[in-house]
Symmetry: C2
């Protein structure tokens, strides 16, 4: 896992515009937002899914970087005062604190554009039509019926008590859509495709995506700010519904483990090609930070 | 021109998510931002460029919509308090005034994603590899070395006196990049390509893009808010460098006309295939609002 993370850091550093290229301030801030931080869960998932279809590392770097840039842009915008108003991210001041709000807005906008540039300008499939489908997968995952839509549902839910299906609907959009895209893009970087395998990975991705959020809520409710690298207990303070507030801590922990088992079951038939995916499902649920 | 505008309005209405689709507030606000407004200059340019290569209307609608959605998103974000802080756009309250800042942020983000969804999910070329190149053209035009970068340069220039080359550098990014993309995408929607013709359109687009901004500055300096449908005289008040502040009103008017002639010269060899492009260059420079 560490090797994929190091590889992604190098890839992102290479793929982001150099800090001295004009407009230098924007490029420096984009690099600040996207480099040296995060667990790189989405690229890890892309790489693991790529093992199922024998995808090359070069392609997986690009697909992983595109998904990670969408994720990074969403964090920059979510942290802004008009959204979650947070000052700390990955142990560093958030972009609008380190720079200013206008720059943070543009950093997010430009990171999103860069994701689509990368996924269209590098060869990710022998079949350009398949690659166009990959662009569409990323766009749908990022947009109003994916991540951005989930963020809107999240905003509108603040102060409300959501039940389990409502929470699930929110998170399938907010975090699940992009995690699903990471898995599907990694899978599509390989040339050996089967619709059955793709359906298996889709089921895996749905379970892992939800598990990821449940575990986030559990960690947020009982970890410290120093451990998380972001402000702890924030969701509860802001009156945002979480799995912990909806069903309590013990049930949230049980749910996370059930989702982990669901993810494992989805890929069981894939054998050793899915070893990394299996490891990641465990990592996502059993992580401590 | 009116028929293209009506066609684009219908296309955008069809291509934007319906207002009742969840999250309804976000989709309603996206439609508010993108429909019923604007001169649709970029789609007009895409349609006119498509006449050079015999592109179908169906394809041009998609290409025009994708470019227009990038433009619409940039207006929503530019109007926000942390950027230009404007309350009026196209004669209506800006999105963050009509809704709220968080929604405006997400509207812009989701409109950008939708642009890339449209340009990847509809067939715009017989050759998928060429269409991938179109995605890349749009991403580059929107990103940090295009429109978003131009916006950053604009922000950093506030209160400074720029000379003509500096102003030109800013506007080639801020408005020129997306206008160029509109022309190139419209051109690419056809199947009869020639590198010579493409170079002609590129030269045309560069001149028209700059002319557009010079005329904007001229209009901003002497039109009324009611005529413009947005706050007039804003740039001067905010200490932003404009062509009028850099070289004065008469010289700015002369420059606009020189650029109009440059645009006409670039496409002169194309004959009747470029009639619409020629009309548009005149329209852009001679418009009163």
């Amino acid at each position: 896992m560490g090797s994929v993370q190091a590889r992604m850091e190098a890839a992102l550093s290479r793929l982001l515009p150099a800090p001295q290229v004009a407009p230098a301030k924007l490029h420096e801030a984009m690099r600040y937002a996207a480099l040296e931080g995060g667990k790189r869960v989405r690229p890890l998932l892309a790489f693991a899914a790529g093992e199922v279809t024998g995808a090359s590392r070069e392609r997986l770097e690009i697909a992983g970087a595109a998904v990670e840039l969408i994720h990074a842009y969403s964090l920059v915008h979510d942290d802004m005062p008009c959204m979650d108003d947070d000052v700390l991210r990955r142990g560093k001041p958030t972009v609008h604190v380190e720079y200013d709000q206008a720059t943070a807005l543009l950093v997010g906008d430009a990171l999103q554009s860069l994701a689509f540039q990368l996924i269209s300008e590098h060869e990710l499939s022998d079949d350009p039509a398949r690659q166009l489908e990959m662009v569409r997968t990323l766009a749908l995952a990022a947009g109003s019926r994916g991540m951005a839509g989930g963020q809107q549902i999240d905003l509108d839910s603040t102060g409300k008590a959501l039940n389990l299906p409502e929470l699930e609907f929110m998170h399938i959009h907010k975090t699940g859509a992009l995690i699903r895209a990471a898995v599907l893009l990694g899978f599509s970087c390989g040339e050996s495709h089967s619709d059955t395998d793709k359906a298996r990975l889709d089921r895996y991705a749905k379970a892992v995506g939800l598990a990821f959020q449940v575990v986030d809520d559990v960690l947020d409710s009982d970890a410290s700010t120093a451990t998380l690298g972001k402000t702890a207990g924030k969701d509860a303070k802001q009156g945002k519904p979480t799995y912990v507030s909806a069903i309590g801590l013990p049930a949230a922990r049980r749910l996370a483990d059930e989702l982990r088992q669901e993810a494992q079951a989805a890929i069981a038939e894939l054998g050793t090609r899915a070893t990394r995916l299996a490891e990641l499902a465990d990592f996502i649920v059993l992580r401590k930070f």
